[in-house]
């Protein structure tokens, strides 16, 4: 991945949680660069700080200390509304629990990010239709999330993450709630997005088998990076 432009840069990032009187550091001086077009797996045991790192990468949270540069912009110095828009345009989230809005249809769930980013209706509809086809759910658009299987819901959620055409797909244990066959098909979708669509994929997992799909593996332990393997 050397030679491709830098997308994300964490510079001596600390995240400290206040638990009553005790300060618990979740991340301790993380410095890492993620380049455009990489497939990164962040692995580590539970409590190693990988979820915290994912929240920071996704601009859902701000570090206690240090800087995070997303496309050369320091997110710690941005206003809430600018950060929300940057997040919406640059990062597509995929969660273990799918996290679809239950009261609206699959199609509307895919439309939602484009509504927040104020796409015009025609473009948004055309794009959502295309995405529904891409994730193989063109006939399920009018279903509510609860009327879909876990695998189908995760595919809607992948569709939603692609809606605003972000550069980064950020996935948190994306197959955690799925059986192995469905999980495999989801991972194949990621590989396709990476290889064919040129998306940068960052995946947080504790499953070492999933990490094999990745190009770069970052291993965390006790809030520090203990190994970066980009030789795959």
């Amino acid at each position: 991945m050397k030679g491709t432009p830098m997308l994300l840069h964490l510079q001596d990032v600390w995240k400290v949680y206040q638990m009553g009187e005790v300060e618990v550091p979740a991340l301790r001086g993380i410095t890492v660069e993620i380049r455009k077009g990489d497939f990164v797996a962040i692995i580590g045991a539970s409590g190693s700080g990988k979820s915290t790192m994912m929240n920071l990468i996704g601009c859902l949270d701000l570090p206690s200390k240090g800087s995070i540069f997303l496309k050369d912009r320091d997110i710690t110095k941005m206003s809430e509304s600018d950060l929300a828009t940057l997040r919406g345009r640059t990062v597509g989230f995929i969660f273990q629990q799918y996290n679809l809005i239950p009261s609206i249809t699959a199609f509307d769930n895919i439309l939602l990010p484009m509504e927040f980013l104020e796409y015009d209706d025609k473009t948004a509809h055309a794009r959502a239709t295309k995405i529904m086809k891409m994730v193989g759910l063109e006939d399920k658009g009018h279903h509510l999330p609860t009327q879909l299987s876990g695998g189908q819901q995760q595919r809607v959620s992948i569709g939603r993450s692609l809606a605003a055409d972000p550069e980064i797909i950020l996935a948190d244990e994306p197959t955690g709630n799925l059986d192995s066959t469905t999980g495999k098909s989801i991972m194949e979708m990621f590989r396709k997005l990476w290889k064919e669509e040129g998306k940068t994929i960052i995946m947080v997992t504790h499953d070492l088998k999933l990490a094999r799909y990745a190009h770069t593996v970052i291993e965390l332990k006790d809030g520090q990076i203990i190994k970066i393997d980009n030789t795959r």
């Binding site: 929240n55 996704g58 859902l60 949270d61 809430e80 509304s81 929300a84 828009t85 997040r87 919406g88 345009r89 597509g92 989230f93 969660f95 996290n99 679809l100 809005i101 239950p102 009261s103 609206i104 939602l112 990010p113 509504e115 927040f116 980013l117 104020e118 939603r160 809606a163 605003a164």
Partner: protein, 413 residues
């Protein structure tokens, strides 16, 4: 997010709301319905009063013997053993009539006496109120309308005009114009039937003196006066009072007659109605306030319930303002739906309320149409206020929702 989209999502939230939200809406429904029905009831009553005011004529004054009622309150102690003795002497008679005739503000004078008498028709009998009136002026002064036949005329003697109830429903058989009835052993021909529901009989005053034996000729129960210029009513009253005080040798403190105007009576009634309406509206407003607290409560719970969704929305690009708009509109919709249902319920209630209050037949028919009489302004105002209450009570919860940190919101289960 465009406002149109926020609107759609807020509406969707209400439509998918749990039963608790609908109970909250019910709170607003009851409040608005109470306010609407009470306000429209008040409006209708006031319309009723003012229509009577129009019918009865603001240019009509009634002169009766005795102290004005307002004076009684001030000098309540005057009512004693000797009061009844002196009251017998206080009358309105020919002297007063003569005095009135010299006043230029007066257009018409109708002397009246009133009493109960037995009426016979075929084999039936009943009791009616006999009104002896001046046949030369009564038809010009009275506000009653004739339904059938004609009014009394100056040359009439043994003829009567009867109230609508006597013609229809009083006897087994319906009475019509030109039919004969007996009142206190004297035969009368009906020349007119009034368009009202009264049990009254109107006849020339000279005949009435013969029918009502306890009445002394030349003494009147009341004198009804029509003034020339309604605009100058107060001046006319003052002139009449002044003149009568001179002829009756009375001073301000010993005044022994009362001049009441329809206008004054109606105004007093209207004032009483309006203060009563205000009072009831205040009670209804409390109901509305309780509804508002309900909305705030539901909104707080709703924000808690939707915390995770708020986190998701923020993760996929929602700004604080988008969340604020959606939740504020959601609260507005709760208010709107509550207001809408409340208006509908209020219109229905305002039709039924008078019946519950045991109003007279005429009132019910009038009030039944209160809904249609209720102005569009009232309805729009009620809706506007409901939306405002919804948004105002939803403001704090919506603000809290918008300020949630995405990472905390997402973690919420």
């Amino acid at each position: 997010m465009k406002f149109r989209k926020a609107f759609k999502h807020a509406l969707n939230m209400v439509l998918h709301a749990k039963i608790r939200s609908w109970l909250t809406i019910l709170g607003i429904v009851i409040g608005v319905a109470a306010v609407i029905s009470i306000v429209s009831l008040g409006e209708a009553l006031q319309q009723d009063v003012s229509s009577q005011l129009g019918n009865l004529g603001g240019d009509i004054l009634t002169l009766t013997a005795g102290r004005p009622r307002a004076m009684d309150f001030g000098h309540g102690r005057d009512y004693g053993g000797d009061a009844s003795a002196s009251e017998e002497e206080i009358v309105i008679d020919r002297t007063d009539l003569q005095a009135l005739k010299g006043i230029s503000d007066i257009m018409l004078i109708d002397t009246q006496i009133r009493g109960n008498a037995e009426i016979y028709y075929v084999a039936e009998k009943g009791s009616v109120t006999v009104n002896g009136v001046d046949p030369a002026t009564w038809y010009q002064i009275t506000t009653s309308e004739i339904a059938e036949g004609r009014m009394l005329g100056p040359a009439d003697s043994n003829v009567i005009v009867v109230g609508g109830r006597i013609a229809d429903g009083f006897f087994d058989k319906q009475l019509g114009v030109n039919q004969l009835v007996t009142i206190e052993e004297r035969l009368f021909r009906i020349v007119g039937i009034l368009d009202d529901t009264s049990n009254s009989v109107y006849m020339p005053i000279d005949i009435a003196y013969e029918i009502l034996e306890d009445k002394e000729k030349g003494v009147y129960d009341s004198i009804v006066i029509k003034v020339k210029d309604e605009e100058q009513l107060d001046q006319a009253i003052a002139n009449i009072e002044q003149k009568l005080m001179i002829t009756r040798h009375a001073t301000e403190s010993t005044k022994d007659f009362t001049i009441s105007s329809n206008k004054e009576r109606q105004e007093q009634r209207a004032e009483m109605m309006s203060s009563m309406t205000t009072f009831l509206t205040a009670i209804a407003a409390v109901a509305l306030l309780v509804g508002a607290v309900g909305i705030a409560n539901t909104m707080f719970t709703s924000v808690l319930e939707k915390t995770k969704e708020i986190g998701i929305m923020k993760a996929i690009g929602a700004r604080n303002n988008d969340i604020l708009t959606i939740f504020l509109l959601n609260a507005g919709f709760i208010g709107f739906f509550g207001g809408l249902l409340g208006v509908i319920l209020g219109i229905i209630l305002s039709g039924f309320l008078p019946m519950l209050m045991g109003a007279s037949g005429g009132m019910i028919s009038r009030m039944g149409s209160a809904g249609s009489a209720m102005g569009l302004t009232t309805i729009l105002l009620a809706l506007g206020i409901s939306v405002f209450i919804g948004m105002a009570s939803g403001a704090v919860p919506a603000y809290q929702a918008s300020r949630l940190k995405p990472v905390d919101a997402l973690r919420y289960e």
